[in-house]
Symmetry: C2
Subunit: 183 residues, 2 copies
């Protein structure tokens, strides 16, 4: 079966500082037409920073869409679509927690809402950490905390952690550590 | 530290069929102001349908934002903000795969992009499956496939699966099965 859709028209709706919104008209596999509302976003990075005692650094910050303070692994937006994700990861980890890391593993790139949003997030595991001073942007407000990896995993299984990048980062880290131990 | 932001203005940008976009002006914890671009979305559900031989049902479909065919667990949008997620899960599983299930576990609700998007996805694990006829919407085109859970897990660890709800659903299912076996 041919599943592809062909774009036959584009209406630009909004160009913001972070997102762009457009509405495409597409030709469906059966020859009919439909519209697709698309959000463009530069994408971002997130990082599981794991210390020698198996603690993970998390940040708490206010997230306006949910009007709530949410616990997440450190993360940030790419400055633009072509920024190197690894460089962004090193920068965001330092800005938000003050940490540098000597060892990184790539945990993958993830589409968060592929139905309407062209946003990718790249997640890294950072180990062999060195503490330093955080250097937040002047309009960034957050609190840093260290939580044992096993406790974070229990919180995920108890549905106490709802942030997708944090769930993916922690569960992929657990699976990666299991596989490293089997080697 | 007080992390909250107070909304002092709202500009409505776009009201589409799926998403709404607005721009809020907020007062920051330090007294300054900033703007927040917010996408509203009704939210959705996704389901890990696991058969007696530990195979998982996945669907392949074209996703316009990435102009690519993507493999995902079955999923769908809530009809509106107040639709019951579990009812939506049962309906979407039947529509996309023809399956009914006798046993469901709730794997949680997840914020996909809490920085700018008010979208929640609810994920369920469905077991004790019964086959039946799929009944796709007339403008829905997808292919269904069964893949062993262990193979999907390997694909996730090899960064071959990029869809966030699929990664979260499969890794939480693995952890839930491990914990069930320890009981």
């Amino acid at each position: 079966m041919d599943l592809f859709e062909k774009t036959i028209g584009t209406e630009h709706i909004f160009e913001g500082q972070i997102i762009k919104v457009r509405k495409d008209t597409v030709e469906l596999p059966n020859g009919g037409t439909s519209t697709r509302e698309i959000v463009e976003h530069p994408g971002g990075v997130a990082v599981v920073a794991l210390d020698e005692e198996d603690n993970v650094y998390v940040v708490r910050q206010y997230r306006h869409p949910f009007e709530a303070i949410i616990m997440e692994i450190p993360a940030g937006k790419l400055d633009h679509h072509k920024e190197d994700p690894f460089g962004c990861c090193v920068r965001e980890l330092k800005e938000e927690t003050g940490l540098s890391a000597n060892k990184f593993d790539y945990l993958g790139a993830f589409m968060l809402s592929p139905g309407f949003c062209r946003e990718y997030i790249h997640i890294y595991l950072a180990r062999e950490l060195t503490a330093g001073d955080a250097c937040l942007d002047p309009d960034e407000f957050l609190e840093v905390e260290k939580i044992p990896l096993s406790r974070l995993t229990d919180m995920i299984m108890n549905n106490e952690i709802e942030d997708a990048k944090t769930v993916m980062g922690i569960l992929k880290t657990n699976e990666l550590l299991r596989r490293e131990q089997l080697k």
